[in-house]
Amino acid sequence: MRFLPLTDADRADMLKTIGAASVDDLFCDVPASARQKGPLPLALGLSEMEVERRLGSMASRNLAPGDVPCFLGAGAYRHHIPAAIDQLLLRGEFLTAYTPYQPEVSQGTLQYLFEFQTQVAMITGMEVANASLYDGATASAEAALMAARVTKRDKILLSGGLHPHYREVTATQARFTHLKVEALAPDPFGIEDLMGRIDSQTACVIVQLPGFFGHLKDYSALAKTCEAQGALLVVAVTEPVALGLIKPPGAMGADIVIGDGASLGVGLNFGGPGLGLMAVREKYVRQMPGRLIGETVDADGKRGWVLTLSTREQHIRREKATSNICTNSGLCALAFSMHMTFLGEAGFTNLAKLNHARAVQLAERLSALKGVKVLPGSFFNEFAVQLPKPATPVVEAMASRRILAGVPVSRFYPSWAEMENLMLIAATETVTDEDMDALIEGLQGVLS
């Protein structure tokens, strides 16, 4: 077995040192009735070549968006990742390190996480960010719990423009704690009234920018209402590339910004792992979940970094911790941070402009299609369209033409009949003119 260095001679030698007759004897504490009897119901180990063949054939049964026109978004966006990033991610000193508990031999991890925290804080317009959570949806649940701790209240108001998975995960968490969730109806037109529902019991309002249905809204007035009522404003960002072009939530007065950073550096991976982002006002930092890296000096007075404010965390505070999170998304944070570094200010803002331009061009072309209505309002790189028939069969028919046309809203809201004809369409910098031609032509065929 290629991963196991011990030889039979080693094993015999070691047993002798231990004073045991066999390895079985080392398992003497296992009750006889619970021991595995006979061989495992698994095949024998395979060589590298055989494993590659087997998994390669499994992978080839998927339609890879890189091979076909792809307009899917709804919380996961396809972007080009510079080649160098993956090469660097594979450096064993990054890949095979544990959580940086020993700072003297973990300055690499600690420095990139400090840079990551800074980048996230900068693009969201917030004061501080943590070193990552699992994904955007779980970050939403964590934000609700955090807001409840800060405000000592329990009512959580969820916008109808918040990603449905974020809404569901937050509601699941609430069901098992004292939190009470009020989830507004899905809001494809961006017309819901949140302000009227905030009261003296509201811990926080969670909204999204750009919204799940694409809308760009200035939440500054909402932030003022929240402040007046003593509630926190939580803004979710599922597409961080947007922050290269639009007003950041911090500038609107957000108290907590959460989101998913998988758009940058991480890639799609069928939706996981994601990269949970959380940035907050500095005064709330002790109520924030997740790891934090801080700057300090070493015994020689040289600048260095350490894990800090750890008394918030489970390994110290146990049942009184801010969260149970331990393993987070370290390597995804590195991928995100590298992508941001490679882009830089000029690259990041231009990437955002490109995305928006592609989406605007696509919206114009779709508006000209008979029976297709682009929902009104502003957007970044994704918007909703109303089709003349149910979206799910349209998307499936398009897929059989090898075009990934969009995401039917009914996949998230199966019991809402009025959502049946709605489809979300995203266009990133990876979409070409030919891709758009194929989409328009395909839709003409499928809708006629």
Binding site: R286, S310, T311, I316, R317, K320
Partner: protein
């Protein structure tokens, strides 16, 4: 005349002319190591004997400070919130946590005096 008493949880309370001052003992401060953060109660907060009054944190540990007696908070030591190291420097002096007016001064009789506390420390496994 000042009365000084100690708890099993290593808080001290000194009572003089109707006002009591509360802090953590030299032993507690030493056990925690360098204190990095202190959360003090709000002035006016009413505390029950044995209820959580404050939180004190070192780099690797966090512990609650329990009120040695019932009453309401009349003053807090903002200086230690700003400079937590003061508690390490002078836990039973300048490093006091808060002052309170006692609602049941009789409770103090159930606490240890200096000699009893020192005897108690000797029983601890350190």
């Amino acid at each position: 005349m000042t009365v000084l008493r100690f708890t099993n949880e290593h808080e001290w309370i000194s009572f003089d002319n109707g006002t009591a001052t509360v802090g953590i003992t030299d032993y507690a401060a030493h056990q925690l190591g360098d204190i990095v953060f202190i959360e003090l109660p709000e002035i006016g907060k009413s505390l029950a004997k044995g209820g959580q009054a404050a939180v004190v944190e070192s780099v690797k540990a966090a512990s609650e400070v329990y009120s040695p007696a019932s009453g309401s908070v009349t003053a807090i030591n903002q200086a230690i919130a700003d400079q937590p190291g003061q508690v390490n420097d002078s836990p039973e002096g300048d490093g006091w946590f808060y002052k309170m007016s006692l609602s049941a001064p009789g409770e103090l009789s159930g606490l240890m005096d200096k000699d009893a506390y020192e005897a108690y420390l000797k029983t601890l496994d350190h």
